[in-house]
Every structure is written in C-alpha cells, then in structure tokens.
C-alpha cells in the first residue's frame, strides 16, 4: 500500500512546481523589462524616434506608433505600469479587505450579516465597474487614482474570502484553547488566524493581481486610466485600434504582453495553491 501511495505523489509534485516555475518565468520577463525602463529604454518614450507607423525593423523591433514613437519602448513602460498597478491594487485591496473581513468575522451577528450582505452585492458588480465609479467620483484621472480605485474594488472580494476563512479558523478548538490560556484577541489574530489563512489568501492575491492588470487596461482603454504620457497597454491598444489595418502589430503586441503577464500570475497562483493545499493532491 505504501509503495503505491508513493508513486502518484511524486508526479503531481513535479507538475505543481512546474506551474510555479513557468509562472515565475513569465512574471520574470515583465519584471526585468519593467525594472529596466527605470534606468534605460531603447528610445525616449516621448520622442518621435522614427517614421509614423513604420513596420518592425532592426532599429525598431516592434515598429512605431502613429506618432512615430518606438512601440517596444512603450510596451516595456507598459510592463512597469502594469506591475505597479497590480502590486499597488493588491496591497490596497489586501489592507482594506483583510481588515474588513476580520472585523466581520469577529463582529456581532447583526453587523456580520450586514457586512456579508453588502459584500455579496458589491461582488456581484465586476471589479471594473466599481473601479470606474471610484474614478468617476475622483476629481481627475491619474495612475494613483486608478490604483486606489482598483484596490477598493478588489477589497470586497478579499474581505469576503477573509471573513469566511477567519470564521472557519475561529471555530477551531485551538482558538478556544489559546483564549482559555489567556491569549488576547489581537494576539490570536496575529499568531493563529493570519498565519492559517495566509496561504489561501496569497493564492487569491496572485489571481487578483491578474484581475487588476486586466481591469486597469480596460480602464485605460475606456480613457479612465492614467492619462498620457503613461503608456498603459490599454491605452496603447486603444490608440492602435484606429490604425489596425495599416499597422496591425500595434494592436497585437500590447495585448500579448498583457496576456503573458496575466497567465504568468495565474500559473503562479496555481503553483502556490498546489503548494499550500496538499489536499488537492499536489506537493507540500
């Protein structure tokens, strides 16, 4: 029996870490490109470095856009913006969401019901729509507004998940044991609840990152994201839509870059989940 059990265990564990590695590699591409733009870009992003809408060449690997700016430069800056948006939105969403979720888990029955119902309704709205409303409410569109808006929109999802997870942990005997032995509630939260729910939360954060990147691109596409000269992929695609017949690359490459990042994050989430949750038949 033990020999049989050993064999199927070995296989999924390799697969799990492969997903994780592919995810990290895809994310790594963007990290390198994005970080690189802090120090160096192939061309000045605002400079009209070549002819308008020129096809790919040795000088411009991805061609130029309708103003003659180097497309590769724009896409690389897009990486940096996407990473900033994803990370920023997830951090904000996590801070608000985890706090709210924990509050709901600890709250009295009535407050908990109210919070849960409110979260359910908020979640029924797509992230993008909530973000649009937050942007609409703010005075002007900027990269910061977009990040905050997305973070707030994501926080509902995080809050609901945290609430469910924390309630499950709170029902465990060891919490009663900890309380009986004199551990204060804040200590219980930091020593028992957060460490226990963290693995599941982090998987969710990786997925949220992807969601945030797509939502930001959509915001920029709709003209509600960061204003020029921030070369968000969404805005690049929106600008290229009009010239898709003469210069199709401009409408394709930013999209591919975005899909690579989001798939990378999804793989990373899968890999993390396999690692965090041995019950799903994968590696510890």
């Amino acid at each position: 029996m033990t020999t049989i059990a050993d064999i199927p265990q070995a296989k999924p564990s390799r697969r799990g870490s492969l997903t994780l590695r592919v995810g990290l590699a895809l994310l790594g591409i963007h990290l390198v490109l994005g970080l690189l733009t802090v120090f160096w870009t192939p061309y000045d992003p605002a400079a009209m470095a070549g002819g308008r809408l020129s096809p790919p060449s040795l000088a411009h690997w991805a061609g130029t856009d309708r103003l003659g700016r180097d497309l590769m430069t724009q896409i690389m800056i897009g990486s940096r913006i996407a990473l900033m948006v994803g990370a920023g939105a997830v951090v904000i969403g996590a801070l608000i969401g985890v706090t709210l979720g924990l509050l709901a888990a600890f709250a009295t029955r009535f407050l908990d019901d109210v919070l849960a119902a409110a979260l359910d309704i908020l979640i029924a709205f797509p992230t993008l729509l909530l973000a649009m409303l937050v942007v609409a409410a703010s005075e002007s569109a900027s990269l910061g507004t977009a990040i905050v808006a997305l973070g707030i929109a994501l926080s509902a999802i995080v809050a609901r998940l945290t609430r469910i997870l924390a309630k499950r942990v709170l029902a465990q005997d060891y919490i009663t044991a900890a309380r009986t032995s004199g551990t204060s509630w804040p200590m219980v939260v930091f020593k028992h609840i957060l460490p226990n729910i963290w693995p599941t939360l982090s998987v969710n954060f990786a997925l949220q990152f992807g969601l945030a990147v797509i939502a930001e691109a959509s915001l920029s596409y709709l003209g509600l994201g960061a204003p020029p000269p921030n070369a968000s992929w969404g805005r690049l695609l929106q600008e290229a839509q009009g010239t898709v017949y003469t210069a199709p690359l401009g409408a394709i490459l930013p999209g591919i870059a975005l899909v690579i990042l989001v798939i990378g994050m999804n793989f990373l989430a899968d890999g993390l989940r396999d690692r965090a949750d041995p019950m799903r038949g994968a590696a510890r």
Binding site: F125, L128, A137, Y221, G234, L237, P248, N266
Partner: protein, 299 residues
Amino acid sequence: MLFVLLRLLPGDPASALISVGADASQIEAAREAVGSNLPLAQQFVRFVSDLARFDLGNSFVSRVPVLDEISARLTITIPLTLFAFLLSIVIAVPLGIIAAVRADRWYGAAISTVSQLGIAIPVFWVGILLVSAFAINLRLFPSGGFPLRGWADAGEALRALALPVLTIAIVMSASLLRYVRAATQDVLGSDYLRTARALGASFPEALIRHGIRNGSVPVISILGIELATTFLGAVVVERVFALPGLGSMLLLGIEQRDYPNVQGVLFISTLFVLLVGFAADLVQRLVDPRLRDRMGGRP
C-alpha cells in the same frame, strides 16, 4: 442598501455636477438642485419615494428623463447580453463536459489549456482582434455602430450585434467552461454515477440521466453571476464597437459628470443583478428538490 451604495461610491453628487474651481455659492446652488444639501434622512425619503414611482430624474446634460434614455438603450444591451449568454452556454457546456470526460485525451487537455488562455484575455482586445479579422480584412460585418433605425431594420441590427456578441461569448465561455468542467469532474467521481453504471446503465446514459441534473446545480449559480457580469461588462464591449447601449450611457455619464444618468444606470444594473441572483436561486431549487427545504427560510 442600494441607497447607501449609491451615496457612498460617487461622493457628493453636486461635486460631480459642477466643474472644478466653482465658488461656494455655485456649489450651494448645485447642492440645492440635486438635493444633497438636505439631511441624509430626508434625502433617503426622497430617494425611496422617487424610486417607488420609478422616477430616476432628468439628465443634467440633455434634460431627457433618465428612464426614457435607459429603456431606449436597453433595446441594444439586453439582446446583446442575452445572445452572448446563450452562445457562451452553447459553447461552454459541451466543451466543458468533454474536457472533463476526456481529460486524458489530447483534445480534452487542449480545451482546458485554451480556456486558461481565455480567462487571461481582456475582452476589449478580443473585440479589437475580431474587428480587424472579420470587419476590416474579411468585410463580413460592420466594425461598429448600430443602424439608426434600430430594430426596424432587424437584419442590419443583427449584423451589427454579431461581432460584439461573439466577443463577449468567447471570453465568457472560457470562464464558464472551467466551472462546467469542475462540476463534471465532481459528478464523475461521485458514488451515484458508479451505482448507475453498476446497475447496467451505459456511460453516456448514466451521465445524462444523473450527471447533468446534479452537475448543473453549482453551474446555475455561476450562470447567474456570469449573466450579471456580462450585462455590466457590456460597458467595454459597447465602447469597442461604438454601440449606443447602456454601457456607453454610463461612460458618457461619467465623462460628462451627468450624475442622474450614472445613478439611473447603476440603479437599473443593481436591480438586474439582484433579479438575476433571485432567478438563479429559483431555478436551482427547481432542479434540486433538496435545496427547497434547506434554503427555505432564506431570501
């Protein structure tokens, strides 16, 4: 609940109405006009009584009653949503079942992989790609817009909706497919399916008689969420294809700071989301009698 949501999110309606840098008297006048200077309780009463009469106010910009504008635009958004919804069910359900049943074959794995790709693609990019393939290169469909005469010209209207519907359906079916596949996998591992097989039912027979009914319960609640998401997600697709639907009304409302329009669209959307959720609940109970008792007390 709705009131709180509407009030919390977009800030003071008056600040949306006026331009940046207005002086205090202008602000006060604007607040007077939208009634946000009244105490909150009074606002609430006004809000509820207006809603009860289905009075959503008039647009700040065009002075047209918000409800008229919404109902005109729904003639585009509702068909768009429903066609896309039906098409994505037609795509996702069979493919999802195949992906689960034939997970060991190459096409089962291929379906799963493609659906993984599908959930990572932003819907507007699918739209752009479809436009460039079918509208610009093949010239099969218009690249955007809607016939001015609306549904009086049904053929043209349908042609205008073809690409947007396909766009939404592609993205929606990708995520739906994953739920169908997961539900089917649960069914495949279940005891009742094995019992049915042991009693002599063939595999397809057992799957159709027992599997579909059981597997559809979780999928229906997802379908409810997806339908609501599609309805709201039409915002982006309507922009790609320049369709004058509810989504573009919301966008225009935001751009022009036309607060009654934004609020009206939001109200109708919330109503729709709640109704769909309720409907999904009802359908679930029709399909699964066990839920009728267990969830009897809950709304």
